[in-house]
Symmetry: C3
Subunit: 337 residues, 3 copies
């Protein structure tokens, strides 16, 4: 949507340095922006790119503004400011309220008038869908699911059953919510299945990535609080509880009954054992293994970065010979007496 | 389903301590159970919760029974006993035999009378589906798949082709069975695809989690024996063979032609290299890396637990200076001569 | 398709040792091949199996040929030769051009005559599909996607929007391409979503495994070059760039804006941090963590293989006591002065 720099600056309460009548109609990275594009400078690593950008205007902090060859929108948090402005300049696809003729909606489901339900989607018995919610093609809303307003379930999302989500939530394609948790009891004849009878409760403003799975609770519910962000291919086990505004990058796996505080940030491939607890404001680096309670906020890690195989193998060999090194030191100590 | 404690005790051959006429109509965790609920005490960690539970009755071992403020059902394996009783008290959703009008079933497919096929599901040429099996909405049963009795393929499951499963198997939403394995041959012009021509054979009583993938064999079949349990987001490569009653937690990845014995238990995020073998009764801890044959039953591990980043970085730095430490010890030894 | 050894040898320019009139009509592993089957000897580890094989003919290198009890097709690269011959002997399923009556194809989509669109598939506005391409049942081709010739999107694949792929690409079931990347800006009120406005561009001859996810770019596109091979359950973040003929095994996770060169090979469960670069011809061993730029071709690793838990725990304990060992050595050095 074409918009002048004046209007952007006014609407988002930014200082503007440059011609207020310039019209923006797209966004661009500093490298590839065209002459009508808005861009942003998110860190000093990108300053080199700023010098040669062709963008019409760049959002940045005040102390970077002098060096810019472009018009500048000044903001303390350029990335967040860009996020808000980009949503205006390049609004997402609009949909019209409609239930596609090929969609199958149970007569006992309750669907708000403004809902869009895509081709070959299925809404099962007792489901409820709020205003302005988009259900993509091939998506399944299982029995007794409750979906709030302004949500988006993209193509081929599956809500299995008994899932309740708030408003403004986004679930990306292939995500599966409310499937049975992994509950098995060992007997002399082998495993027997423990019925998984709980649901999943998700707050407002939650976003869940492609092919991520969130299991239903075994008895009580699995809970995802407001503002949580989950990337793709994450596993959330049964009865996990995730606090507000916690974010996890791709391929994390959280075992059953784990409890994670507010505002935590897990990098990719973090694993967390079941029945343990992480307090608020904990950061775990990529591939970290959380195997006991964490009670102090802060940053944690347990991964080795890669090295050339020969160096790595030598390192492992040395670790394996630590026994002998310890013996040699003990002998030296004794001989020294 | 409402049921008296007397009937539960008789049916599952438990000793009952308490009023046999009390009616149970739901289950609950010790913390949240209501006055008509059945609960269980699975370990001493939960004894504190027992003291204040509002459950009507709790399943536990004989030696815990004295301290209970509730009626008690005595069993040596409370969790397994709970699993069996919960399936009676809270039976799963029932379905009626039916092929939904929007489902597409090939005329060459053979479907038992008692099968349920959900909305927008697809059953392709030559597929066979046994009695009392449930095919969820959006599920795909590909060409020549054979599905036994009393199975459940939930919403949006995909059986690609040439998959044969036994009786009483459950596949959760988004799981993909029988897709091509990862077979590529390097040539000077790049990779060429190796045709993946085998199938997948699954025994009885197998449960497979959401978004888990089990590839077809390259030539011979991929084999999953009776009673295997796979959690969500697991990868089973082509020609893998998994023995009876082996269980894997979330996000394990098993490379092609790996062979895993009976009754093994892999915790989450375990990786296993291809063309190697693990014997029966092996336990691998979370994030373990199985890169060579394991021939002795027992528990194995290779993961470091997380620490504060500063501590961890110091530890890594020390490991990196092991060379120098070894040199210093050698010099001391020489000087001591 | 039945074919004589003479014809195979001529067509693929191999030397044949044995009866040229023998008819091959299937393929088999050395272990399980029947008397009309073609097999191959890919490495010396399989020589034992060769001695007892019942295959009609085996593809192998010249220097292995003398010891074979079967007819031999001689080739320097037996695995690649097998791949090519198997595609002739056991051609994949054929499909006939057809749009199934239950499929939903937007009137603004442009579909070549020879395309097959399966039951309950959906093709949305503005999509383009080239000649001889197969769209499986339940697959979704989102708005403005462009698909080349001779491609295969298997059952329940999702192309979300704005995905462009070349010719001869294969996407396996459950893969999701073009979903929003993980873009979030922190504010005092919590995360806000950064609009994900780029697309995904995929070259020719690319194969993508089941339940793998490839996110759209944030502003510019995510790029997968010609001949790339991705196994199952892999995550490719927004704006990642993967060079020609690079292959990744299962469960790798590549964070946003990572750049990977040509002909790289990542084993399973490799993680790569965002905004870094790996040069051409890099091999990373299973579970490796790529957290900084790699500028030299070669093989890299950072994983410990599993050990019995008791041994492993001792090793970790020793590493944790390295501080003390270093102190003891320092004391010895001082005392020696």
């Amino acid at each position: 949507m074409p918009i002048s720099l004046r209007e952007l600056a006014e609407r988002f309460d930014c200082e503007l340095i440059g011609d207020p009548d310039v019209i923006i109609d797209t966004v661009g990275s500093l490298c590839n922006a065209g002459p009508n594009a808005l861009s942003f400078l998110a860190g000093s690593a990108f300053k080199k790119q700023l010098a040669s950008t062709k963008a019409a205007a760049v959002i940045m902090r005040a102390d970077d503004a002098q060096s810019s060859p472009t018009a500048v929108l000044v903001d303390d948090n350029p990335y967040a400011c860009y996020a808000r402005m980009a949503a205006v300049v390049c609004p997402g696809p609009v949909f019209k309220p409609d239930v596609h003729s090929s969609a199958v909606v149970a007569t006992t489901a309750s669907i708000a008038k403004s809902v869009h339900i895509g081709a070959n989607a299925v809404v099962e018995d007792g489901a409820t869908i709020g205003e302005n919610t988009y259900i993509g093609p091939g998506a399944i809303v299982g029995p007794d699911c409750v979906i709030g307003d302004d949500c988006r379930l993209n193509a081929n999302v599956t809500f299995v059953r008994n899932v309740t989500i708030g408003d403004r939530c986004i679930f990306h394609s292939g995500s599966v919510v409310g499937a049975d948790g992994f509950g098995n009891a060992m007997t002399p004849e082998g495993w027997i299945k423990v019925p998984q009878l709980g649901g999943v409760r998700v707050g407002n403003d939650v976003e869940v990535g492609s092919n991520t799975t969130i299991d239903c609770g075994a008895i009580d519910d699995t809970v995802i609080e407001d503002g949580v962000r989950l990337d793709n291919l994450i596993q959330i086990g049964h009865n996990v509880h995730i606090g507000e505004h916690t974010a996890m990058a791709t391929a994390c796996a959280i075992a059953g009954s784990a409890r994670i505080g507010k505002r935590c940030m897990f990098a990719g491939m973090v694993g967390m054992a079941g029945h343990i607890e992480v307090c608020d404001d904990v950061v775990v680096n990529g591939k970290g293994m959380v195997s006991k309670n964490i009670t102090e906020p802060g940053a944690y890690a347990s991964n080795f970065p890669i090295e050339p195989v020969r160096d790595w193998n030598r390192r492992v060999a040395k670790i394996r010979r630590l026994d002998k090194l310890i013996e040699r030191v003990s002998k030296l100590e004794q001989d020294a007496k």
